[in-house]
């Protein structure tokens, strides 16, 4: 009893100390929050609001199509509505919802106190909110995108979409994608480095594997779309003809860049939901996941194979037969690892002692719907069938079965499963069962029928159809079904509100789960764990009921407040051994201000105030640099106590802290972006129907070779500066030389751009312009990195033990030299007569 009281007292004291450090200030101070629990909830709530808007648009679509010749909304508005329905559901609901889910739960599942870069989390959220708001405001103003959510060219090129509708899509979505890419990098680094001590790679919760693969897919999938969006916006704004076939461009380039993102995107949405399923089923089956390693293997296979499917959206555009075979084979093949996961779930239920609860009901619905979607997916992967069903409502039915079965139903199950964690209340489930049957029945009524209308030849994206087509009865049933489904969602929302208001309070782990997130108090405090657990078994075999109170009493790692620091542990990627104490940044308004400035930049571009856009761009740059002021230390610190008898250095004194990894993955995304650009350049040169060599400008090698030399010199100077720092010698001269070399490279590249002549004449010049501009941008950023290193050194923030800032800069200098060299090589080949 005494021990219990002592533990309770120490738990309360520790809670107060940690809360004082980790909680965001009240009132307006909430806008400064960077905590993963807060930001995760904001992401999910905002995504749900966008989902409601997207759902409402879906109902308008079905109201319009309910009967032939309907005059309900008419073509112009219908075009905006169906475009925005797809755009919202994909970009403003599905991805951000998964991001919020990951941001909220991941640290708790891994036994960490927060994500690796809390300010980046907050910045990502604000970018998402502002970017999404731009799209919604455009919808209300009647100038929303209206060319389909694939934004195909030439329909969305300037001559055929002269308003700002397409610009809103291109700029707004790119804004949102900044958020997604930053989340991807953060998720990867957090999973690889921020875990509980002892959580070696083979002990990670299965969800971490799913999110790791998903985040890598985002890292490789999003840059092609960002590139495509930038190129199309350049064409629309400045007439650079990347997609104009009359001047050497090609509309198919857009399709390639879009679907290089677009198909993996389906799995980017599906995999986190599948991860949630793999977390829930073991709890309800009362048996650990069967085939843990096979599921990891399957998820990795899906991650890769899903990139080999992108052309199956383009089977009818006229590509060589053999290429059709590659993509058809890969499309069929991806069903196998997907099925491995399904069989694992079924085997887990079969081997366990399953008990029924509402999340399982929704998972049952997910299974049925997703399997049906998977089967039609295999049908569509077969080229002859695809030719028949292409761009019909059969495809609409398939994609909804896959996305609703693969994401929405699992998400609803996950909501019922994890909402008690967020709220600390258990649902009564009084209306959740009827809500399910309305949803399940309404969904199938809506979309199963669409297979039939599709097979009868009804094309997608048409705003009406003739009565003679004979599709009325099917469409009417579909539309009735959609309203039944909407009633189900309304009931679901009511159920959630009832839970929030009347749910029974409980302390922790209502489902008797065996994963770590249930070891936190519920609702969770801002610091998640008062101390960090030591993991000695797989993370789905734990006992949260025992671990929770121990951690709350501070009997784990970092079980005390220190220096007002927000601390968590960095561990070795494979073994999970503690490596460093990661000291996270305190709440700050900087992410909000930076996102506002980024939004101002986007709006300037949207309203074609290009000269003015330089102002917010410089503000963004300045604010990002301001983020770094509070980081690091002006003296070398002794290793810090992390547990009785154990110490670890602060993260800025280790060789590869989270920021080093973040730069590695940023450069990976940068490399994918550059590779996509090179792909585009090669594609146009090989495929474009109008590519006369005479249109090519001649690149002046007298400028190109010195530019390559300057970029190389900058890289060498950057490395030299690091060596000098590590040996304790002065490094200012090396950094000044580095910045100077970058400046020279940039000046030479700009001179080449000026000498290029009018880039609007032909796609060849436009692509060379893009290559040179991309290289110049790298040189410019290299200059900033060098200046930043110099400032850190002058401020006393660098020492041989604290060299990471300079080493990160050196990585950029090296990458910049590679980019400049390859870009100039490609430009030279393109300009050869």
């Amino acid at each position: 009893m005494d021990e219990g009281n002592t533990r309770a007292r120490s738990s309360i004291r520790l809670h107060k100390e940690l809360s004082a450090i980790w909680d965001a200030p009240p009132g307006w101070g909430r806008l400064a929050a960077v905590n993963h629990t807060t930001i995760g909830k904001r992401f999910m709530l905002t995504a749900f609001v966008f989902f409601l808007i997207g759902g409402l648009l879906g109902m308008l679509i079905r109201a319009q199509l309910a009967t032939s010749g309907s005059a309900f909304i008419g073509a112009p508005i219908y075009n905006q509505i169906f475009t925005m329905h797809g755009t919202i559901m994909m970009f403003l609901f599905a991805i951000p919802m998964f991001e919020g889910f990951a941001i909220y739960l991941l640290p708790k599942m891994l036994g960490a106190r927060d994500m690796a870069f809390p300010r980046l989390t907050a910045y990502g959220y604000w970018c998402y909110l502002f970017g999404g708001s731009i799209l919604i405001v455009a919808l209300l103003a009647g100038v929303a995108p209206n060319g389909g959510w694939f934004l195909y060219t030439p329909l969305n090129s300037q001559p055929y979409s002269p308003g700002i509708n397409a610009d809103i899509w291109l700029l707004g979505i790119t804004f949102v994608e900044i958020s997604a890419l930053s989340a991807a990098i953060e998720i990867i680094v957090s999973i690889l480095r921020l875990r509980a001590p002892g959580m070696s790679i083979e002990r990670m919760p299965i969800m971490a594997w799913y999110l790791l693969v998903t985040a890598f897919m985002m890292l490789f999938g999003f840059p092609p779309l960002i590139l495509g969006s930038i190129l199309l916006e350049l064409e629309r704004a400045f007439d650079l003809p990347f997609f104009d076939p009359t001047r050497g461009g090609d509309s198919l380039l857009w399709q390639h860049l879009f679907w290089l993102f677009g198909h993996p995107e389906v799995y980017i949405i599906f995999l986190p939901a599948a991860g949630a399923v793999s977390m829930m089923i073991p709890t309800f089956a009362r048996h650990e996941l069967v085939g843990y390693r096979s599921v990891i293997l399957a998820v990795m296979a899906v991650g890769f194979l899903s990139f080999g499917l992108w052309v199956h959206h383009m089977f009818t555009v006229g590509i060589p037969h053999l290429a059709l075979a590659f993509f058809s084979a890969a499309s069929g093949l991806v069903a196998i690892p997907t099925a491995v996961q399904l069989f694992s779930w079924i085997a887990t239920i079969a081997q366990g002692r399953p008990r029924f609860d509402v999340p399982m009901l929704y998972l049952g619905g997910a299974f049925v719907v997703f399997i049906l979607g998977g089967l039609t997916g295999v049908m569509l992967a077969m080229v002859p069938f695809n030719f028949q069903a292409h761009d019909t409502h059969f495809v609409v039915a398939h994609l909804h079965y896959v996305l609703v079965g693969g994401f929405v139903f699992p998400l609803l199950a996950a909501t019922y499963y994890w909402l008690p964690h967020i709220t600390g209340r258990m649902a009564r489930h009084s209306v959740s069962v009827p809500a399910f049957w309305l949803l399940f029945g309404g969904f199938n009524l809506t979309f199963f029928i669409m297979h039939l209308t599709g097979l009868l030849g009804m094309p997608r994206r048409v705003w009406t159809y003739p009565e003679a087509a004979g599709w009325d009865i099917f469409n009417l049933i579909s539309s009735v079904g959609s309203f039944v489904m909407a009633a189900g969602f309304a009931l679901f929302a009511v159920d959630i509100v009832l839970q929030l208001r009347f749910g029974e309070r409980f302390r922790r782990n209502p489902w008797r789960a065996r994963t770590l997130e249930w070891a936190t108090p519920t609702p969770p405090p801002s610091y998640a764990f008062a101390s960090l657990p030591v993991i000695s078994d797989r993370a789905d075999r734990l006992d949260p009921d025992r671990i929770g109170p121990e951690l709350a009493a501070g009997r784990g790692y970092l079980g005390a407040a220190r220096n007002g620091w927000m601390e968590t542990l960095g561990v070795d990627i494979a073994s999970g051994e503690p490596r460093e104490v990661v000291i996270l940044p305190r709440p700050t308004y900087l992410p909000l201000f930076t996102a506002l400035a980024t939004g101002a930049f986007v709006l300037c571009l949207l309203f074609k105030a290009y000269a003015l856009s330089i102002v917010p761009l410089l503000v963004v740059l300045g604010l990002f640099l301001a983020w770094t002021v509070s980081s690091g230390s002006r003296r070398d610190l002794e290793d810090l106590p992390i547990a009785p008898g154990k110490t670890a250095p602060p993260h800025w004194q280790v060789e590869r802290p989270p920021s080093w990894w973040a730069m590695s993955f940023t450069l990976t995304a940068d490399g994918v972006f550059f590779a996509s650009l090179l792909f585009g350049v090669l594609f146009l040169r090989v495929v474009s129907p109008d590519w006369p060599a005479s249109q090519g400008p001649v690149l002046d090698l007298r400028l190109a070779l010195p530019a390559i030399a300057a970029a190389g010199l900058a890289a060498l100077a950057g490395r030299h500066a690091v060596r000098r720092l590590l040996s304790g010698r002065p490094l200012a001269v090396a950094l000044v030389a580095c910045a100077g070399a970058h400046l020279a490279a940039m000046a030479l590249l700009v001179a080449m751009i000026v000498a290029l002549g009018d880039p609007t004449v032909h796609a060849n010049r436009a692509t060379i312009f893009a290559l040179l501009a991309f290289a110049a941008l790298h040189a410019a950023l290299g200059m900033i990195f060098a200046a930043f290193g110099l400032w850190r050194e002058r401020s006393g923030l660098l020492s041989p033990a604290r060299s990471v800032d300079l080493r990160i800069g050196a990585m950029w200098h090296g990458a910049s030299a590679v980019v400049v060299t390859i870009a100039l090589l490609f430009a030279w080949i393109g300009s050869a007569p």
């Binding site: 790679i201 083979e202 390693r293 096979s294 293997l297 990795m300 890769f304 053999l322 075979a325």
Partner: protein, 117 residues
């Protein structure tokens, strides 16, 4: 502190499928370039065109590279080491085997199917 051997690195988890991805891109790029420049009409041996030979060569190189990774990881599997290293080694081996099958299944069309029609 013991260092993880080269074959025990997490990188090897994705080695096989990375070869598949590179092979996929190489085949698609080669096919596009070959069809654009008419390499499918240049007969080299019997009924084999220049493009067919190049595609088959990429196919074989991809298979061989995947098989090489499998063989190397198979040898590594017999070694001891920490639990995490063992786990990664087995997972990498299985992933490479899956990639080998995927490589054969996805690319085998180069042997028989029409190329540029």
């Amino acid at each position: 502190m013991s260092r993880t051997s080269f074959l025990g690195q997490p990188f090897f988890l994705v080695a096989g499928f990375s070869i598949w991805a590179v092979g996929f891109l190489a085949l698609y790029a080669l096919l596009s370039v070959g069809c654009a420049y008419g390499w499918n009409e240049i007969v080299v041996v019997g009924s084999f065109s220049l493009l067919r030979l190049q595609l088959v060569a990429v196919f074989i190189v991809s298979l061989a590279a995947c098989a090489g990774v499998v063989a190397a990881l198979l040898a590594r599997r017999r070694g001891g080491g920490k639990a995490s290293e063992h786990f990664l080694a087995i997972l990498a081996l299985q992933a490479s085997l899956a990639a080998l099958v995927a490589t054969f299944f996805t690319f085998a069309g180069v042997l028989t199917l029409s190329i540029c029609d």
